[in-house]
Amino acid sequence: MLYSILILNKAGGLIYQNEVNPGLNKLSTNDYLVLAGSLHGIHAIGAQLAPNIGDKTVPASVEEFNRNQNSSIMSTFKAQSPNTNRSGLQNIETSLFNLYIFQTVTGLKFMLITAPNPAEHKGELNKQYDMAHELFRQLYMLYSDFVMKDPFYSLDMPIKNPLFDTKVRELVN
């Protein structure tokens, strides 16, 4: 079950928040802004930490990865995964909720807060990731359609768009 959807702009400001199902504590708008800011910061710290943990045989550097991705786009003309969240915080699991983070190439972050996995589904990690990723893909599509193509929306500002709200609600129900 999905609790909440958050969208952060590239500076870590909260631009969209939709409480889909009740379950989380009632937080004030200000609290949500603080929450978004801290997650943005933790995400960045995580990206600093990741290459220094464990054995040092970390996969290709980010620059190299980008170069490979670029050349593969140039040669195949096929779209790559839109998720650029490679070394930052990816998901959080707690006893009462799960949180997933998706980052676009422009630094925009989508976050999902869901109920924790039911006990019988323990061990199906990849399935959960795939499900979250699919939802992110759909959300990103809605964002590109109904937010980016709206002439009255200014970039990085809060999204107050009933049309987008409706589409998001249709998506999650």
Partner: protein, 243 residues
């Protein structure tokens, strides 16, 4: 490990700082912003020297026959982005809702004039006849004219019962307004003013002097339903009565 300042927006993409430029010359650096994607002498030389492959074997738009009757399809996303920018630009230039609608109408007007010419040419010389009656030209606008622009006929064509010179074309799913959200303080605005301009331009150059406005009349299931109200000039009605 170096104790760099952590740039939250950039680190997870790459360890980018303000002073970094991409090695390949491509790629967005959020720490810098749009400038990172701009064309410099370095990137332009990369672009020029890059071997490119033509993706489609179809001839370009310039090589195609202008009288080609096959519908030419374009991407809705590109069209929406273009229209979004048109509205945005016009919005910045105008002094109010009415002014904005007028400006959109004007932009559509010249398209309508030209498009009528083109579509009549494509209909072919033999079948081509000039519509003289209001009702005939309206059927043409509602039918084949609409179809060649939007790929479908308009939903309804109605005549006002109270006012003799008023006609309405009703479109349930306006294509251009699909992604547009009108903010609360612009409640009366309808970006269909652009389409109204197209209709007006076409009718005017066909010799029917008319004033077209767009109005949102939402219905269950069709929140974007738009009515294009056409008020014909008195002279058209007089001409109509002579025939």
């Amino acid at each position: 490990m170096s104790e760099d300042i952590i740039l939250p927006s950039a680190t997870s993409l790459s360890k980018l700082t303000i002073h970094d430029t991409s090695k390949t010359g491509f790629g967005y650096n959020p720490a810098i912003g749009p400038i990172s994607n701009s064309i410099t002498s370095e990137t332009s030389s990369i672009l020029i020297n890059k071997r490119t492959i033509t993706l489609s074997s179809a001839p370009s738009i310039y090589e195609r026959n202008i009288t080609n009757k096959k519908p030419v399809e374009i991407n809705l996303s590109s069209l929406s982005f273009l229209f979004c920018e048109i509205v945005n630009w016009t919005h910045g230039q105008s002094r109010g809702i009415h002014d904005l609608e007028m400006k959109l109408n004007k932009l559509g007007y010249s398209i309508g004039q030209r498009y009528l010419e083109l579509i009549k040419l494509r209909d072919g010389i033999k079948l081509n006849k000039r519509d003289l009656k209001i009702i005939d030209i309206l059927h043409f606008i509602h039918g084949s004219f609409w179809k060649s622009i939007f790929g479908k006929h308009a939903n309804e064509l109605e005549k006002s019962q109270d006012v003799p010179n008023e006609y309405m074309i009703i479109e349930n799913m306006p294509l251009l307004a699909k992604f547009i959200n009108i903010p609360k303080d612009y409640a009366d605005l309808n970006c269909g003013a652009f389409v109204a301009g197209i209709i007006e331009g076409a009718l005017d150059s066909a010799g029917f002097y008319v004033n077209v406005t767009a109005h949102s009349v939402p219905m269950d299931g069709f929140p974007l339903r738009t009515v294009f109200l056409m008020k014909f000039d008195q002279s058209c009605l007089i001409r109509e009565s002579i025939h």
